[in-house]
Symmetry: C2
Subunit: 333 residues, 2 copies
């Protein structure tokens, strides 16, 4: 066991879109677990848009803005190296909220064993993890997608969006993805099997969206909010559903946020449902047991955008918050 832990902290409070220089790596001793604690050696650390809001103190997972020297929150997967907790033997694999660091203690709170044989370990942070469960909660539990329906999803190549679309297809629906580049759209319609994909950064994108959904959309899963949500209403069918799941548009700068014009849901008689993934914790085992075989069989696919080493975490997070990542953002420790 090494004697030093590496961790990423803020070098200054964030302003707007994060830059790599907003973060620095520092070292500290590897901690010793006390009674009831376990020590986890991280293998993958999850970078997610919600962490930006948490760093600003604007998220359920973090209500106090982080300053210089503070470590951002993150879920991570790794192996238990020392344990003084009866539920987590040494050698077991777990996911927990360990933060942006190589080693972390856990007291068992929000810590769960994962089956490293059932699926690649990294997927427990992505399509089989919180993002995947989010998609399950959205499209299966809240929206109750039906065969033949049309499902539209923004941030479609991310771990939530790609699972939303693929779960919809698995249930016999048609998936349309929104992403921020032609390259992402090509992956969506190629490798991931989406029926259509639309690049929201291309000129005339609203026309392309309308052309992609000529019959309209039954369910829109929104990861973005703001103008994207307003644009999605242009193709929503009367009585269509909107799952409100993420606010990417405002995580960097809430002052630039565009709130929802209520005339849109009224005129479309829309049903909008707010989603917080923790509500579906009791569905997690069922979700993993159902979807892991689909992942192993290659029926559900995913992309990862990996960076090797904690030194690259800030740069990857910056790309993530500019929408320039391709797939699930992961730090490989």
């Amino acid at each position: 066991m090494p004697e030093t832990n590496e961790r990423v902290v803020l070098s200054r409070p964030l302003q707007g879109i994060p830059e790599p220089g907003d973060f620095r790596v520092e070292t500290a001793p590897v901690p010793e677990p006390g009674p009831g604690q376990l020590l986890v050696r991280h293998q993958f650390i999850s970078l997610d848009p919600y962490q930006r809001a948490a760093m600003a103190g604007r998220h359920l997972s973090g209500r106090t803005p982080l300053g210089a020297g503070d470590m951002p929150p993150a879920e991570a997967v790794g192996q238990v190296v020392r344990s003084r907790h009866p539920d987590f033997p040494e050698g077991a694999y777990v996911r927990h909220f360990g933060g942006w660091q190589a080693w972390a203690l856990s007291d068992g709170e929000r810590t769960h064993r994962v089956d490293a044989d059932a699926a690649p370990l990294s997927t427990y942070l992505g399509i089989l993890g919180m993002p995947g469960l989010t998609a399950w909660g959205s499209i299966i539990e809240l929206a109750g997608v039906q065969p033949g329906q049309v499902v539209l999803v923004s941030a479609a190549l991310g771990p939530v969006g790609s699972m939303v679309g693929q779960l919809a297809m698995w249930r016999g629906a048609t998936a349309i993805g929104i992403a921020g580049s032609e390259a992402k759209c090509a992956i969506l319609t190629g490798e991931l099997g989406f029926a259509r994909a639309v690049n929201y950064r291309a000129p005339g994108w609203l026309g392309a969206l309308a052309a992609a959904a000529p019959e309209g959309v039954d369910i829109y899963h929104d990861n973005v909010g703001g103008q994207m949500l307003a644009d999605a209403f242009t193709v929503l069918k009367l009585h269509g559903q909107v799952i409100l799941c993420g606010l990417m548009e405002r995580y960097n700068d809430p002052a630039k946020s565009k709130p929802l014009d209520l005339a849109l849901p009224i005129l479309k008689r829309a049903v909008m449902k707010g989603l917080v993934v923790t509500d579906f914790e009791d569905r997690r085992d069922h979700f993993v047991a159902t979807v892991a075989p689909l992942v192993r069989a290659g029926r559900i696919r995913y992309r990862e955008d990996r960076v090797e080493g904690l030194a690259g975490a800030g740069e990857l997070f910056s790309r993530l918050m500019r929408g320039e990542n391709v797939g699930k953002a992961l730090v490989v420790v």
Copy 2:
């Protein structure tokens, strides 16, 4: 039959809250019905907040702003005096979109017979009319209120709000009303039987709202939008429902409107449903047949704010759009 018709027209395009001087009465000949038409002598003309948006060209019922000399739209009830339409014999009572005038032609479109014996004629513009059907669509059809639930409604003494609360109570729920004066609140908790009522114009109103709903609210019927909707979220239970029905807050001046912060429905895991009353047209007969006996029996009550004669229509509409009316706003012709 008189030879002249009276009607109210705009004396100038509206700016902000309407003033009595924005309207003038003019005369015209009483028209003769052509083939397939009927002539209706209005007895009551309905004034409703949506008409303000229609006058500005911002409503489904009117997409072109009205200018000087244009007559505002309105539903009215009255008697068929001449008929060249097979479905509407002379002497029958009808409701139709006849506008702010004493006499109006109809070609049968959106014209319906009403039973003047089943309930007072004026109620077909209020609690048994479009506002009442709106409440039925909201609280019975969309929200599916259950016994023991708590229902909160804004503009609670208006025809929609008072019916929302009373239908909720009829179904065994608890009704809490929001209104703009202590006098209105006293009517709500007295004559109309609401469990509690809160004056949103009183200092410390958010505290009063919280005190009025200590267990939280299962269903909020929103007639207002804007800050009122945001305030209602403070007492909404997790997974509570919000029926989005009206945008009073913006009808006078959309530039001052406060759109919805999407974090509110997400954090409350709210289910929000947009309502347009025309969707419930096929439920109207069932609604009237069910509720008219309750009205006759005094189990469902209502207030009307009447003005005699078309010359007073502008003043009543101005009070309505300032929220100073007490009950359903009606012009008695």
